[in-house]
């Protein structure tokens, strides 16, 4: 012990003269740091109410509640997060996982209220002093992600490999790829409402993650009896609202569905779906058309015990799925896999039978308890421009059918296709393949009224058409077809300025100063299809209630004003496969309700 030890502590006295370090008013004199995790803010316009913040909250502090003025619509649940500050721990995991980056924290330090209930609030809806504060914790852009924003890329055949054959070009996911893609899903379920069939999308994606593909198949068949087909060619409206798509690529829902269907062998379907013994209830339903709507109605009716007979005009089942969609997109064996399973449940198909010609509809009504018609849109529409009555002007829908049926179709060296939808791309790419087989090169120009940004065709269809050698020229309105010496020389087009007039009616406006000439020896029109209702006799037609634009009116279960007649599919809604499936399903329930007298 030194004398120093006694004196040294007294040196503390000299601190008496130091300036105090205490901040008098820390809240105002020392604002929070830029990243400080203060109180919640929410940009309710950007927020889609996906509830992912609620899922990750380990304290169950977040409730999803309806908010006045926010409408529930496709891609937005109409709910907004409300936070209980009695539970929140300000970890900001909700901010880090927010799919839209709408949720952030301010850098505010204090909030004093007398009423404890005030601490349960809806950020962005309830006015708070910090809600426009710039600083505070935000999702660290580009630094890290809690789920991958990038879709697992799907392997395609290279353009060189695929452009001369009709072999399926999309290879499908491997197990590893599918599980990785399924892992990206945040299970919000926003997609389910947008899917016309309201499929249990998060549930079957979860089944993939758990590697329980049998469960996955059961979930698919709950709402969709054509998963192989939908897994390939569905218009995947679900993916357009996917919450992950707000910041990255949406989940590849369609390919995941295909993965489940592909991995389950058809011979195990009956066992997996527990459909080995279905009880018959003795009632009969006739179905006209074996397209998606008809098959879907037949499937769900068969499950309920109805005896279903499908009448098909052509020699094979599938309707537009077989005859409209080229084989490279949807191989026939996959169509057969889905259809054969439905047939295995006791559904009968009568082929090569046209209702209204071979059998009258009145006869069907007599023989059956109810009739469902999903006859689709199989008549091509013409542009009716000058020269469109020439023999080398074809309808895409007819050509596609002939290609499927294996008939010879006329393939010229130079072709012009008119149309900007997926059917136009289908015929373009089918003809391109045939051109390569015949001439060794592709010379196709596909032109549409719509400019590229509003073309109805899927973007990948356009891209792939170009990869395969076709020239896609959007934004041109066909004027007339030039014919010299009875032979087509090409198509004159003018720049299209707008499609609709002020009242919203279809009325294209062209700039006739800016014209072009697309050379070609044949022209294919692909501007939409019409319905063929010739199977309805005049007598029946008179009894049916018609709506605007010549459509037949149906109620919410697709029942017409003739109680025994149900209509669905492209003739009512669409055109696409998934609406057909949804319509068929609902109609089946409607028929069941009608016949079981509930």
């Amino acid at each position: 012990m030194m004398i120093k030890d006694i004196l040294s502590p007294f040196s503390a006295w000299k601190k008496v003269f130091d300036k105090p370090v205490v901040i008098k008013d820390p809240i105002n004199d020392r604002p929070g740091a830029d990243r400080y995790r203060g109180f919640h803010k929410n940009d309710i316009e950007t927020c889609i109410g996906c509830g992912t913040c609620e899922d990750i909250c380990e304290n169950e502090a977040i409730d999803m509640i309806p908010v006045e003025g926010i409408e529930t619509k496709d891609g937005d649940s109409g709910l907004r997060p409300s936070i209980d500050y009695g539970r929140c721990c300000w970890c900001a995991l909700c901010v880090d996982i927010c799919t839209t980056t709408s949720l952030t924290l301010s850098n505010a330090y204090n909030w004093v209220e007398e009423d404890p209930e005030a601490y349960r609030f809806t950020p962005g809806v309830d006015e708070k002093p910090w809600q426009n504060e710039e600083k505070g914790w935000k999702k660290p852009e580009g630094n890290y992600e809690f789920y991958s924003l990038n879709r697992v890329s799907m392997e395609h055949l290279h353009p060189e490999e695929r452009s001369d054959s009709f072999v399926e070009m999309v290879k499908g996911y491997s197990k590893e790829q599918a599980e990785k893609e399924a892992d990206r899903c945040v299970e919000c379920g926003i997609c389910t409402a947008t899917c016309p069939a309201h499929m249990g999308i998060p549930e079957y994606i979860k089944a993939i993650r758990n590697d329980d593909l049998e469960e996955g198949l059961r979930i698919l068949y709950d709402t969709n009896p054509l998963p192989e087909i939908c897994g390939r060619i569905c218009t995947h409206k679900c993916e357009t609202v996917c919450s992950v798509g707000h910041r990255g690529d949406p989940i590849s829902i369609r390919w995941l569905k295909r993965y489940i269907a592909d991995q389950n062998p058809s011979e195990k379907y009956k066992q997996i779906l527990e459909s080995e013994s279905l009880k018959k209830n003795g009632k009969k339903v006739a179905i006209i058309g074996s397209g998606p709507a008809g098959l879907s109605a037949a499937y769900y009716l068969a499950l309920l015990g109805y005896e279903c007979t499908i009448y098909e005009k052509l020699s094979q089942a599938g309707g537009m799925m077989r005859y409209g969609i080229p084989e490279y997109r949807l191989p026939y064996d996959q169509i057969d896999k889905d259809i054969n399973y439905i047939l295995s449940l006791g559904v009968k198909i009568v082929y090569d039978t046209t209702i209204g010609k071979d059998i009258m509809l009145e006869q069907l009504e007599k023989d059956n308890d109810a009739v469902f018609a999903g006859t689709g849109l199989h008549l091509g529409r013409s542009t009716r421009i000058d020269g469109s009555d020439h023999k080398d002007v074809y309808q895409s829908i007819e050509m596609l059918r002939k290609i499927t049926q294996g008939e010879e179709v006329h393939v010229a060296e130079k072709i012009v296709v008119i149309g900007g939808g997926n059917v136009a791309m289908d015929i373009t790419r089918s003809l391109a393949r045939l051109q390569i087989q015949k001439y060794g090169k592709v010379q196709i120009i596909t032109t549409s009224l719509e400019t590229e940004d509003i073309m109805p065709a899927d973007v990948e269809e356009v891209v792939e058409s170009r990869e395969e050698g076709a020239t896609v020229m959007p934004g041109w309105a066909p004027q007339h077809i030039e014919i010299v010496d009875g032979k087509i020389k090409g198509l004159h087009v003018a720049q299209c300025l707008s499609l609709f007039d002020e009242t919203g009616n279809f009325n294209p406006q062209c700039n006739l100063e800016n014209t072009r000439f697309f050379e070609g020896d044949m022209v294919v029109e692909s501007i939409g299809q019409g319905m063929d209702l010739s199977y309805l006799s005049e007598d029946i037609k008179e009894q049916l209630e018609m709506g605007p634009r010549g459509r037949i009116q149906v109620n919410d279960v697709f029942q017409t004003s003739l109680p025994w007649l149900f209509l669905g599919g492209d003739i009512i809604q669409g055109p696409d496969v998934i609406h057909g499936i949804a319509n068929g399903h609902i109609a089946a329930r409607g028929i069941d309700r009608l016949l079981s007298g509930e």
């Binding site: 409730d63 529930t72 209980d84 349960r120 919000c188 379920g189 409402a193």
Partner: protein, 176 residues
Amino acid sequence: MEALLDRLKTRFGVFDFEQKKTYQSFCSVDKLSLVSLVTYLKATEGFKVLVLISVVDWIEDGKFQITYLLNNPELKTDIGIRTFISRDNEEMESIHDLWEHAPTFQREIREMYGINFPGSPRVDESFLLEGWDDIPPMRREFDTKKYSEDTFFPRPGRKTNDPAEYMKQKLYPDEK
């Protein structure tokens, strides 16, 4: 590590040897050999430090796993020794005479899992949960959520909606 394993294999019949990191491995041993193995490791192999005793409840297999993690401060290596006991006969031999802090672990395990260590000092005194009258709470069959719902009252007025379910009610209530 390899040489040590061979010795342990022949003498105590350890199995499931796993080397996790360069300095850490785990192995399993029969319940009856455990104390002699631990004693041997402490006295002969230089594993002088007891890092922890921990229990894992494998309710689906009807077993408790007791892990004894020992550390050799000279060689700077860890060895974790697992032993499995039946959930029906939850009793384990005590090692309180080997380390002074072992009774603390055993007392906590007794309280949290209901595994008895006969002879361990103060093993029956409550450790954390004075006045606890439910089943030992760290057992997997003890449902924390249910306990909390039964014991505490939720704050009134909270209601949440599942986005998918809510959208269904709003947009297509009639279907299904």
